[in-house]
Symmetry: C2
Subunit: 147 residues, 2 copies
């Protein structure tokens, strides 16, 4: 187990990089990164709604998918970093894999399943990060039809 702050740095930085990558591709700028209990990145990804016309590749789903098929034990103590409050599908995905903690960048743009995550025993941390919020603000202003 590494210090929480170090994992936080690695995980949140990767999620934010993914969101910025999404923005540079003209996509919905939401990124996510799954970090193990040991502080290692298991998978990272960003929303692919625009890029792949995907209905399901939200950032968290992309991160889980890119982590590959793993034994249930691999997710033990893992944290999902995401730049935006997770929707109902991504909330369910975190519950399915028994993720320990969800760290979200902000929830001013959208409030997802935070309460349900907590109800299901998952710790939720909101960083209220201005960069995450600004990415979404810019995207919604420039591409209202894609939000």
């Amino acid at each position: 187990m590494v210090a929480k702050s170090m994992a936080e740095d690695i995980g949140f930085r990767a999620a934010l990089e993914e969101a910025q990558k999404g923005a540079s591709e003209g996509g919905v700028p939401i990124g996510a990164c799954l970090v193990s209990a040991e502080g290692k990145i298991m998978g990272r990804g960003h929303n692919m709604r625009v890029q792949k016309s995907s209905a399901t590749l939200h950032a968290e789903i992309s991160a889980l998918e890119n982590a590959g098929r793993l034994p249930a034990s691999a997710y033990k103590g893992a944290t999902m970093y995401t730049t935006l409050s997770p929707c109902d599908m991504c909330t369910g995905a975190c519950i399915l894999y028994k993720i320990k903690r969800v760290v979200l960048g902000e929830n001013n743009t959208f409030v997802g399943g935070e309460d349900y995550l907590k109800k299901r025993g998952i710790e939720v941390v909101n960083l209220q990060n201005a960069v995450c919020e600004e990415l979404m603000k810019t995207f919604i202003k420039e591409h209202p039809e894609d939000w």
Copy 2:
């Protein structure tokens, strides 16, 4: 709007065909099919855990993904047919897309988010279909490591 029984036939038959296709590929034999309010198949698919080493392509996610990116209005009144009670992720996906009804093949093998679907206003129908259950029984017996 077509008669519910006709849509039920089309949707459930397609979901079962998908489950059987999954079985023939050596995969987890769970299939799903999304049917519109008008009774048209929007997307169908099966679990790809084994075939693609996928952590997220459950049957319902595959069906939604194969339906492509659609406007929210396309899901209005839609029914998700699935051969097995949906897991938390797939439950969340049905909630996200405001699916009207979830028709599941059986829940003897596994009980998923049925109560939560109902709580979120989604109708749940359980067909308790013996063919769906037998597919799962055979798979779990032959591939216990994959279930």
